[in-house]
Symmetry: none
Subunit: 186 residues, 4 copies
């Protein structure tokens, strides 16, 4: 019984693609795996997405728009507390990273896979660069200058990368100290 009108099918396919990408990596994406995961006919994936690249991009765009929500929630909390005399940025970032790290490695891994995939696929580069820029901009709203924000983003990326690679547990004090060196906080 083919569901003729299934307006959410496109979205279901994207969601399935994200699940696959988190679980098996970007390289694990294929029309077949996605169709199976989404429980839609094979032809449906090629119908809604002209090529596999299109599907990948749609999935990654959605991934990139979602975690921002979490970060924005974080930022709201930060703002509410108030910057001057409020929570030190290093503390706030440390907490964000901790949540991030504990929120399942799947999502972070996927984000870094995006970075790397972008190195080879030009169409992904704007996405990855936008990711960095957005983060920089957001952090920049809480630093005295943009240069500091850029350094913080680089440091955060490096720290997360190491976290993923080494299986060392998240060391709050160490991360906090590292960030504080850059923010100049004590």
């Amino acid at each position: 019984m083919p569901r003729r009108h299934d307006p959410e099918r496109r979205q279901r396919i994207i969601d399935a693609a994200i699940r696959i990408a988190e679980a098996k990596g970007i390289a694990g994406l294929s029309h077949r795996t996605v169709a199976a995961e989404a429980d839609v006919p094979l032809g449906s994936t090629t119908y809604h997405f002209a090529s596999l690249d299109d599907l990948l991009i749609a999935a990654l765009e959605q991934v990139n728009s979602q975690p921002r929500c979490a970060v924005i929630g974080w930022e709201d909390g930060l703002t509410a507390v108030g910057i001057p005399g409020g929570v030190p940025l290093a503390d706030a970032l440390t907490q964000l990273l901790e949540e991030y790290a504990h929120g399942g490695r799947g999502r972070i891994r996927l984000e870094y896979e995006l970075y790397l995939a972008a190195l080879r696929r030009p169409r992904l580069q704007p996405l990855a660069a936008g990711c960095v820029d957005e983060m920089t901009e957001m952090i920049g709203r809480h630093t005295s200058d943009l240069a500091t924000a850029r350094v913080l983003v680089a440091l955060i990326d490096g720290l997360l990368l190491q976290l993923l690679l080494t299986d060392r547990p998240f060391d709050r004090a160490e991360v906090r100290a590292a960030l504080a060196r850059v923010t100049g906080e004590r």
Copy 2:
């Protein structure tokens, strides 16, 4: 034209794999592409390397052993100058990164691809982790404590990653300032 005796066959295959990996990424490695690049029959690659993973690891090990030489050269220079009252570490690292960045993006890209590929392929993880450790240890020889070295490595990783992703040119002053924040140099 059967080349029945070819004592350097194995090494030639590894070299070809590195060229492929630099040019097309780790994902571009396949028995076929490597065999073609090395100008050997397809079966030869599977004879010398039981699985593609084995070949990939052999190639990456070789890649990882080479750049160290460059870095060691750098370190020798640094040592020669002498640390106390000598070249500030931030300056030395900045110069190293600059050389690294200008030395063709292929090699850096490959290194970061290694990092990220390790996220999905357990057998690569020791390689990637060893890469980080080695770098940390080396830098640690020029810092007062290891914690500082770890932060520096994270920062360097983040900076190089951004460099690769954004196509922004290498900004010596900015990088130098970022590093100085961590080393505490003025």
Copy 3:
């Protein structure tokens, strides 16, 4: 010459697989040999059957459903004659085996190959066991108890196996006598 629409493709592949299995044995089955025999592209066999095992099973199921027809025909004749005071079972079975033996060795061979292949491939075991059970049940309908039927089936299997292995011609009297020992008929 692309035959894009071919509604009986799946069945043709199964038929080809049976021909191959009869002619070259189960070990002779491969995507390639079947595709060539069925005159379809290689990819077509893997499209319709996710794995070679699936194809093998589909083929053997079809094989197993066919000879039953012959046996059922035999059974009908037997019933018509009537058991009490009718044709002795040993005579009827002898005639069945003779027809079976003369009906080309391909089919019997294939059946015994199924048995033996089941020893190594768990997925085939239900098929082979079902084959034995069905035969037992059918013969059981003409014996006083099931134990006798089981012994008869074992004996029949052994006799056919010897027939295949030794190239001795079918000896009606000998087979009849062997069966009669078990049925208790004189």
Copy 4:
């Protein structure tokens, strides 16, 4: 350190081949698997056996010569007891089958694989036929006539086959009763 003179190497290869065939089936035999199992260089297997078929035959010949020892032991016991007024044949055979069945399925499976392989490979046929003949001859020494022995061998083959296929446990009483029908013992 190549062992130049290793007079038992040939035998070690055969033994390894038997282990492989028992564990993975005849289809699991290859120069490589055998060389690995025997811990000899690959070239050694092709040196001592011109083709894989030669190796297979050598292995199966050895297999066929070994279990006979067990059977001969059994026969000796049987003879000792004495036939006339001694142990009924059905009992003795039942015990033999029981030991056989409990002695690990690997060996029986291999024997039946030999039968089946013989169906397709002419060079194996003498081996398989000889196996049957030998068994017939041996049993014939304890029956009044050869016809009875032939029937017994067929029945035994069928019973063992069913045992392997159905995973039903060995039922001593049932087997004994089946054999007794043929031997005429009560």
